[in-house]
């Protein structure tokens, strides 16, 4: 199963990113768990300079912007290809 983490304190953009992530997962039918990471200390474990951030299978794929559903779908597909 793919793990998707949305990094951010809970602002509007973080909520939008979570929605985009859910749309991407839903449109592809991937088995994925979406986790919101709101604690600053947890967010800073990733090399992130601005929120919202998106982490897929522990790899930071975007930060400081809201990617499109198509972009997130591509990252999900890449993650799925590398799952053991």
């Amino acid at each position: 199963m793919i793990t998707v983490k949305v990094l951010g304190p809970g602002c509007d953009n973080c909520k939008k990113l979570e929605m985009v992530a859910r749309q991407a997962v839903g449109s592809m039918g991937f088995e994925a768990e979406i986790i919101k990471v709101e604690e600053y200390a947890q967010i800073m474990k990733y090399p992130i300079l601005s929120t919202p951030g998106l982490v897929i299978n522990e790899k930071l794929v975007s930060a400081g912007r809201i990617p499109s559903v198509a972009e997130v779908s591509t990252w999900l597909a890449d993650a799925a290809m590398h799952e053991s």
């Binding site: 839903g26 449109s27 592809m28 039918g29 991937f30 088995e31 779908s73 591509t74 597909a77 890449d78 799925a80 290809m81 799952e83």
Partner: protein
């Protein structure tokens, strides 16, 4: 960190326009040029080998992708054509490799449109991660026909 792997084949001249090839993975066979290039019919040619390399590699990567994407593959068949351009100076190049995969997938419990989207993405991933498709400078064009079959259709 990047890694490398090495694959090999060995060719030897037999006579006239005949050669013999030993593939690194075991098989060996005679080969020639295509009949329209002073070769012989019914045997491997460099042109066929080139198109075959791409066709087989993309298929194997698609199989891998269907497993990763939890797709229930029912059948896969793909005709692939390589288009050769002969330049004025008589140099030649495969400008395009055009794939026509015909794919049947069982819908299972998912919505057919979701399975089709996942299948198309699997095909994109197959192209993206295909060693051979990545290694050639010919344009790769994939024109799939995808059928998502319900449980009732699969059992018929």
């Amino acid at each position: 960190m990047s890694r490398t792997a090495v694959y090999n084949t060995t060719v030897s001249w037999k006579n006239e326009h005949w050669g013999h090839i030993v593939l690194g993975n075991g098989p060996e066979m005679d080969f020639s040029a295509p009949p329209d290039a002073q070769g012989h019919p019914g045997v491997l040619t460099p042109e066929d080998a080139f198109v075959t390399a791409a066709n087989t590699c993309v298929m194997m990567m698609f199989i891998w992708a269907t497993e990763r994407f939890k797709l229930n593959l029912l059948s896969y068949e793909c005709r692939t054509e390589g288009t050769k351009l002969i330049e004025l100076d008589r140099t030649e190049i495969f400008t395009h490799l055009r794939f026509w995969p015909v794919i049947r997938i069982a819908a299972g419990d998912d919505k057919p449109e979701v399975v089709e989207a996942r299948t198309r993405r699997a095909l994109q991933s197959a192209q993206k991660y295909s060693l051979v498709a990545n290694s050639v400078k010919s344009e790769i064009i994939i024109e799939p026909t995808i059928t998502i079959e319900t449980e009732k259709e699969v059992s018929q």
